[in-house]
């Protein structure tokens, strides 16, 4: 056990070192030869990796150090993304279940579900955020992060619905006959056979959705001009990029780490929930 963990840590460090070497090697080579394709490389377009790390210790205009400022922003975004992810996953799952159970509904509704995903999120987000801003729940409009989470859930539900439908259909025909031989009712078959059969598919969707929800939350924040999260930080640091490029790079790393964190949480949940032969995990 300890040996396996040790091996993992070594692999992780090796990959990290490799990435760092690639980064710095690229920078060095392009600077040395002054290649301008695809873009000229200097400290402005591609800062040193360690310089970005060191930048985390610098203080920002808010008074906090950059690392703390970004953690606060990441937590804000994480909250909207997590709520959006959970909401989207639940809606997506139930939509999938309903659409599989009632074939007529599926043929009628599925085209709109697909169409919903062809609307650019950049066009939809401002409408949703503004629209929800004028809605009154208990006397006041929903807080910013709730509106952002709606955008996140919009990106989450679709893969979950598609894979839930596919997964519910993946039940073994013999297993279905077995259920029939027990005179099992539709809901029993759904709960005891179809949903467990669908779980590996659903988790595949949740992994996609986990990272998508972070992206959705960031875009939601930007289109709604909400400045507390990573989306706001990206816009802000982008504006002052020429003065301090490392701030934006650092923010991007935080966004990436947040996405990876979400992914890992889903992966962990899958390990706990899905009991399947290792090679049969989708």
């Amino acid at each position: 056990m300890a040996a396996r963990v040790g091996k993992r840590v070594v692999t992780f460090l090796l990959v990290l070192g490799g990435l760092w070497a690639l980064w710095e090697g690229y920078k060095w080579l392009w600077e040395r030869t002054a290649w301008s394709k695809p873009f000229r490389v200097d400290d402005l377009t591609l800062p040193h990796a360690h310089a970005i790390l060191l930048q985390l210790g610098e203080s920002t205009s808010t008074g906090d150090d950059l690392w703390l400022f970004l953690i606060r922003a990441a937590l804000f975004t994480a909250k909207s993304a997590a709520v959006g992810f959970a909401f989207g996953a639940v809606v997506g799952f139930f939509l999938g279940v309903v659409l599989v159970q009632f074939d007529v509904l599926r043929r009628g509704i599925m085209p709109y579900v697909v169409a919903s995903q062809t609307i650019p999120i950049l066009a939809l987000a401002p409408i949703v955020v503004r629209g929800l801003g004028s809605v009154s729940i208990g006397g006041s409009p929903p807080p910013d992060w709730v509106r952002v989470s709606v955008i996140a859930s919009y990106l989450t539900f679709f893969p979950v619905t598609v894979n839930t439908i596919r997964g519910l259909r993946s039940a073994d025909p013999w297993a279905l006959e077995l259920m029939h031989s027990y005179a099992a009712r539709g809901w029993t078959v759904l709960w005891k056979l179809r949903v467990p059969s669908a779980l590996p598919y659903i988790f595949t969707a949740l992994k996609i959705a986990a990272t998508a929800s972070v992206v959705g939350a960031i875009i939601g924040e930007q289109t709604a001009s909400i400045s507390n999260g990573l989306g706001g930080a990206i816009l802000n640091f982008n504006q002052y990029y020429v003065l301090e490029p490392k701030n934006l790079w650092a923010t991007n790393f935080y966004a990436a780490l947040l996405g990876i964190g979400f992914f890992l949480v889903v992966l962990l949940a899958e390990k706990v929930v899905v009991h399947r032969a290792p090679e049969r995990l989708v």
Partner: protein, 271 residues
Amino acid sequence: MSVSTSVVSINGLSKVFGKGGVTALQGIDLEVERGEFVSLIGPSGCGKSTLLRIVGDIIAPTEGEVAVNGKPARKARLDRDYGIVFQAPVLYDWRTVAKNIALPLEMLGWNRAKRAARVRDMVELVELGGFEKHHPWQLSGGMQQRVSIARALSFSPALLLMDEPFGALDEMTRERLNLELLRIWAETGSTVIFVTHSISEAVFLSTRVVVMSPRPGRVASIVPVDLPQPRTAATREQPRFFELVTRVRESLHAVGADEVEETLATEDELA
């Protein structure tokens, strides 16, 4: 023959798949008495699985009637009168051995304690003690099929329908499970309809062997097996066993079964 002693009563049964399509079964009549062990044997595609699935009300016949325990097949299915075992174990990967066996009991609404007690008995019956918490993929093929048999027997159905349950297993495992199945059959007093491709398996297990002919599927002949009970490994060495194997084989040749099943060669050498 009085209807009351028949567990399965099949009258004038026909099955046509699709409109004017394949006639899988035609004019099947068969009575299976309580406590019998009846094997269905015949060339591939002669409708053995189809017949079994009609008895289990998994598919409907085109013509004719099937009564199980004196009721229409559908009623018998709703009353959970039979347990079924397929060629593959069809276990649920996400359930442990114990939970797989308990599946039909959950559907019957048994409470937890009652289920646990029955699962314990079943695990003992199929000799899988110590594997209750294992998942199916952690078991060998033979062990998986034993779980599948335990599951079919767990709610004590009067009738056991088995479609080539040992078809995918090696000869050694198959013979061991044959003995185990006979022991279970004797202990539980159930009635079995058993589909197989193996002549020796059919003769060894059965009280009667039903030989079916293909295109369309019919009952060609019925061979009563008068080998003494209980059957043991020594049964396979009795002259009577070989006589019956020969009789079933000749019936199969008579219906034009060209496919020679795998165990035949060795039996010829022995005979």
